[in-house]
Symmetry: C2
Subunit: 173 residues, 2 copies
């Protein structure tokens, strides 16, 4: 297998990833990244999020929750972000390990008790737990797949944001 | 102010919210909700998330991270979910308190060190911290706004998913 083929395994631009990792190893401050989003309320339970120059992405709630059901709701978006992050992790780490991914689908499910959100009792308003089922078809041994899976789950930015407590500072501007 | 006007303050369907809250108070099991998302890898760092019957929403990474920069990335989506959730919280609780919202914009920013994601060292791959600046123009006193702000931040499902550790179970299906 030539270096050129390796570098484009799974269509991943490993050279770019390696260049970034190299730059950060040389200058650790380059590892610091800042991400932003701007949300605008659109009436009722509708809002939209603007990220960089991309088109605004709508958000709403189902009718049963008082919404107008025009878009996925915030807790569903949260699951989507986790699945998308894991997909990047599999693509990056499989490519680095020389593993070709044939197919990858990730099913996510989360249980949430509505009592606290609805103001019926104080407590935990967020997900009680999330389950992730990874359907991975790849040219690799079971041991390679298990190692890939371990690496991905141990290095997922969104996964860690779920599984650890992140300080959130709210300011009324 | 008539009940009818109250019930549609901020275009929020308070009757639906009250009906759900009432049903859950009567039968606590009705407070349990399950949310789902399905993510499909599309090559390189691109993936898309399917939620209920809505059109798939794309995800990608910036070129500097090895992506093809066609859509917001997962950690940006995470901030969007938080802002959208807070917007629902403000709309719901302002309406319940009889406060008209004239304008609401929420700026979110998160700091993330890339070392762990890139495999350069073990540790925390997620956000180190997130800041939320709420720009709220509403017909209310400062005390009412402060109380509204307190209620929203104490009952936000996505906010709590950030600020608390949520168990995530990964299975290779």
């Amino acid at each position: 297998m030539t270096t050129e083929i390796q570098a484009n395994l799974n269509d991943v631009n490993l050279d770019a990833v390696a260049a970034l990792a190299g730059a950060i190893q040389e200058t650790p401050e380059k590892g610091r990244s800042v991400w932003q989003a701007e949300v605008t309320w659109k009436g009722a339970f509708r809002s939209e999020v603007k990220i960089r120059d991309f088109a605004p992405i709508p958000s709403d709630e189902p009718a049963a929750l008082g919404g107008t059901d025009t878009a996925p709701n915030p807790v569903e978006q949260l699951l989507g972000a986790l699945g998308n992050c894991l997909a990047v992790g599999y693509a990056a780490n499989a490519s680095a390990a020389g593993i070709a991914i044939n197919d990858l689908r990730i099913d996510l499910s989360g249980d949430l008790d509505l009592h606290t959100f609805l103001g019926l009792r104080p407590g935990h308003a967020g997900y009680d737990g999330v389950t992730v089922a990874v359907h991975l078809d790849a040219d690799a041994t079971d041991d390679q797949i298990a190692e890939l899976h371990r690496t991905v789950t141990e290095t997922s930015p969104v996964g860690h944001t779920f599984s650890r407590a992140i300080p959130v500072q709210f300011d009324l501007a």
